[in-house]
């Protein structure tokens, strides 16, 4: 893609590099589209992560929503899950979280939320996009405009609700090291420490708008780099690393080893299914097959959908909440029914700690009880027109496996699988391949060779 300025306008919302692809004009127009899309009469909740550009984005968002006649409730600098949580409490029509989450500091984004704090469905997001593209906004007259008010209580109400689900005082025995990556998790965890006397050691706690201590990536490698050297000296039981808006989290064990982000969902599926056997785990086609094994142990089953939050949301809305154990991705982003199915890294962390307490083992020991799966991931630059040929070629090359063509091509066998798909955000195809036990190097190499032969 020539001259890519990083601007992305899609069903997920609007994101880009501020001042390059993403301008104030885009932000105001998109927020106005959302203000037009929402039913009038109920407030709209707004919160932002600490990025310096967040204030600029916030000004535009507030102006557009007021112009569309909505009362705006501002939560200030809070995590995206806190915004989602507040939405339901405040009986709001919807909300906007201003955050580029795990992207670098120069990015920002608008994330649109429906009345229950959930992400928009595919149909809703499509309608919003249509309004944005038509640019026919419902700007009201001078005596019908919305007002702005600040609500500083959202953080405490969020912690109250976490405390109602998790036994927070019961976690006092754990020493936990947390890398807040200068983001909003610092505000939540500091308050939690003050309220419940928890033994959490926070690093990169200063909330920062321009210079994050490191890229806000929640990968095993980043965890090993940041938390690895601290775990043994601090005698910590577990370590966690959050992205800037605390919806994603990664883990380190007591030895200082980074835990693959792929392990978060199986771990929480195990935890949730042990409390509600027979339920469904919703995940995408690219996440670990360990899930099927874990679900099988509790008589549950795994429902695999195309990659992307939208497909997961659509699958969720096709079930009753009590049928679902957990939903999530291999990226470590997990939704639990206790929290109305939002990606919430803090809730994931508390669930893992609760699990450690119940099983009486440190994280590394607990993880070693799961069978070993090895995953290999690669990507190849490929012109979009050639993708169908590659997929047909692959389909014919591996005729013996179980086929799923709902998102690229996934072929699975009893002990291994691969998934080849087109990225939503870049002109590349992704190759993911996993095997129980040792890495499926040979299969991976031949897939990559085949993909490259089309590039």
């Amino acid at each position: 893609m020539r001259g890519d300025s990083g601007l992305r306008i899609s069903h997920v919302g609007l994101r880009g590099i501020v001042g390059r692809g993403l301008t104030a004009g885009h932000i105001l127009d998109f927020a106005a589209a959302f203000g037009t899309f929402l039913e009038p009469g109920r407030p709209v909740v707004v919160g932002r992560d600490p990025r310096a550009s967040g204030r600029m984005v916030w000004e535009g968002v507030v102006s557009a929503l007021m112009a569309c006649g909505h009362e705006v409730i501002d939560l200030g600098v809070v995590s995206t899950p806190v915004v989602q949580h507040a939405l339901q409490k405040l009986d709001a029509a919807g909300g906007i979280a201003i955050s580029a989450s795990h992207n670098a500091a120069e990015w920002n984004a608008l994330r649109f939320l429906g009345p229950r704090g959930t992400y928009l469905s595919t149909a809703e997001a499509g309608e919003l996009l249509d309004i944005y593209h038509l640019r026919k906004f419902r700007f009201l007259e001078w005596d019908e405009l919305g007002e702005l008010r600040f609500d500083g209580g959202a953080l405490d109400r969020y912690i109250d609700d976490l405390a109602a689900v998790f036994d927070l005082p019961g976690l006092r025995g754990f020493r936990v090291v947390v890398d807040c990556c200068n983001g909003t998790s610092a505000l939540i965890l500091r308050r939690m420490i003050d309220r419940y006397g928890l033994d959490f050691v926070l690093i990169n706690e200063r909330v920062e708008g321009v210079q994050f201590a490191h890229e806000p990536t929640t990968s095993a490698r980043m965890v090993e780099l940041q938390l690895g050297p601290l775990m043994k000296p601090l005698s910590a039981h577990a370590g966690f690393l959050f992205d800037v808006d605390s919806d994603r989290v990664a883990m380190a064990d007591e030895q200082g080893r980074g835990v693959s982000e792929e392990m978060m969902l199986p771990l929480l599926a195990d935890h949730q299914l042990s409390r509600g056997p027979g339920k469904i785990v919703i995940t995408n086609l690219s996440s670990s097959a360990l899930l099927e094994e874990v679900a099988g142990k509790h008589g549950g089953r795994v429902l695999r959908v195309p990659v992307g939050r939208q497909a997961a949301m659509d699958a969720l809305s096709a079930h009753r909440p009590e049928q679902i154990a957990v939903a999530g991705e291999g990226t470590g982003a997990v939704m639990m029914p206790q929290f109305r199915f939002i990606y919430d890294g803090i809730a994931s962390m508390l669930a893992v700690l609760t699990m450690l307490r119940e099983r009486g083992r440190p994280l590394g020991a607990l993880l070693s009880e799961y069978p070993q799966y090895s995953i290999l991931k690669g990507e190849v630059r490929l012109e979009s027109p050639r993708v169908p040929e590659l997929l047909v070629d692959l389909l014919e090359s591996y005729p013996d496996g179980k086929i799923d063509r709902s998102d690229g091509l996934r072929v699975s066998w009893p002990d291994r699988w691969f998934h080849v798909r087109v990225s939503h955000t870049e002109p590349i195809i992704r190759v993911i391949c996993e095997q129980r036990g040792a890495p499926p190097q040979e299969l991976f190499d031949s897939l990559m060779d085949k993909a490259r032969s089309y590039s």
């Binding site: 104030a24 004009g25 105001l28 600029m56 102006s63 500091a105 005596d143 405009l145 007002e147």
Partner: protein
């Protein structure tokens, strides 16, 4: 169908009806163009009390931040106070959200340079070109500035500048009984403190709640100030003051409850100003010849400009004038406080004059050079304007003609001025003469020629 000017983007900024016409997107883009033009640094943002003010101010702040400026949010303040503050803190410029005397459904962006003044004609054209080119400065995350709030400092700075130019003790000793109508505008947050605390007045006030809508037509005119006149009569006030929503204009009610002619308000201010500072006087072409008589008494010159505050200000700056204004608009501009219309200076000058002379407002007015003025307006078609003016000039071959803004015809003891309005498709006619009879005759003759 008469064309309604629901939105006007021009050299004086953006003005329009909020909703479909003056949108937050428009305010944002104009502010971003402004931020690009003045460069990175602090920009002051403030507003009057219109309900659309907060919405538009957020859009303006978004645009300024996006251009890489820091924003100083001064909240609700009179326009002159915002202008003074821009200069005081050495900001790059300022944006005031106010449609001045226009009805509540209107709003506008008023743009100020680093001296807290309007941009000159050339700068305004550059800015509007920049807006149309849409090639704005785009700050990255590391370059985005901050928003700070300062609602207190500016009021003190403005009031101190005004008080420095009058005999405060002389005014305070009189404990004047005054009445105020701030139209629930920006004056509401500052004028009561100014009159009571700074000038020691005993005040009765109406419409000083900045959270409420304008209770009367926003322009302070004789026909809109009935409530203030009644308050003056009821409380026995020595004077009544009426501001417009952004408190740059002032109307005055005398001790008998009569609303002064705006030309007399300016004349009284000129009388006071010339006694305290050196320099000449600048007024627009439609302002009373009384100003010439007063200036003559002080040995000063009078410069005439086309109608419009910006025109008056531009000439005032060029000639380093002592005072200026526009009679018909109720604006007093006193550069020793700030080069902009300022109702606070006008109030202080009148009280100082009353304290010094011991006279009532009506006595002060009676002592002014006496002229009779008449004015009217009529809808016209653009193509006919030249012919109408031609007919007028040919009808009065003996008069001296000035064509800098429409047509002004001047005799030794009278004048007439006809011009097209800048904001509406209307032709405005004003005449002035020494007597009622002479004024009426000139007025009727001129209409006769225009209607022909």
């Amino acid at each position: 169908m008469p064309r309604e000017h629901l939105l006007k983007i021009g050299v004086s900024g953006v003005r329009g009806v909020v909703g479909e016409f003056l949108t937050p997107a428009l305010a944002l883009h104009f502010a971003q163009a402004f931020g690009t033009y003045v460069g990175r640094g602090r920009v002051v943002a403030g507003r009057d009390t219109r309900t659309s003010g907060p919405m538009l101010q957020h859009a303006v702040q978004c645009g300024l931040l996006a251009a890489g400026c820091d924003v100083v949010d001064v909240g609700i303040l009179p326009t002159p106070t915002i202008q003074i503050y821009v200069e005081h803190i050495r900001a790059r410029g300022g944006i005031g959200l106010t449609a001045s005397h226009n009805p509540p459904e209107y709003n506008a962006l008023k743009l100020f340079n680093k001296e807290g003044q309007f941009f000159n004609h050339y700068e305004r054209n550059e800015l509007i070109d920049l807006y149309h080119q849409s090639d704005f400065a785009q700050a990255t995350n590391a370059e985005i500035g901050q928003v700070t709030r300062d609602e207190g400092t500016a009021k003190g700075v403005h009031i101190d500048r005004v008080l420095a130019k009058v005999d405060v003790e002389r005014i305070r000793r009189r404990r004047f009984r005054v009445a105020l109508d701030a139209v629930n505008g920006a004056g509401s947050v500052m004028t009561p403190g100014f009159l009571v605390d700074s000038l020691g007045c005993r005040m009765d006030a109406i419409s000083i709640d900045p959270t409420k809508v304008f209770p009367r037509i926003a322009e302070p005119r004789p026909d809109t100030l009935g409530d203030l006149a009644a308050l003056v009569r009821k409380t026995g006030a020595e004077v009544g003051f009426a501001q417009d929503p952004d408190a740059d204009r002032l109307a005055i009610v005398d001790e008998q409850g009569r609303v002064l002619d705006n030309d007399d308000v300016l004349a009284l201010a000129v009388l006071r100003a010339l006694a305290v500072v050196p320099g000449d006087v600048v007024v627009n072409l439609t302002t009373s010849a009384a100003i010439d008589d007063i200036a003559l008494g002080f040995g000063r010159r009078v410069y005439r400009t086309p109608v419009g505050e910006a025109n008056v200000v531009e000439t005032m700056q060029a000639v380093k004038a002592a005072i200026g204004g526009e009679g018909s608009a109720g604006g007093v501009i006193f550069p020793a406080v700030q080069l902009c219309r300022d109702s606070f200076t006008a109030m202080a000058f009148l009280l100082d004059l009353m304290a010094e002379t011991g006279k009532t407002v009506s006595q002060l007015v009676t002592a002014l050079p006496q002229y009779v003025r008449k004015s009217g307006k009529v809808a016209f078609e653009h193509g006919r304007l030249g012919g109408l003016m031609q007919a007028l000039e040919e009808g009065f071959p003996e008069a001296e003609a000035d064509r800098t803004d429409g047509l002004k015809l001047i005799w030794a003891d009278r004048w007439l001025h006809v011009r097209a309005s800048n904001t509406e498709p209307l032709l405005r006619l004003a005449v002035e003469a020494k007597t009622e009879g002479a004024a009426e005759k000139l007025y009727q003759t001129a209409w006769g020629l225009l209607a022909a």
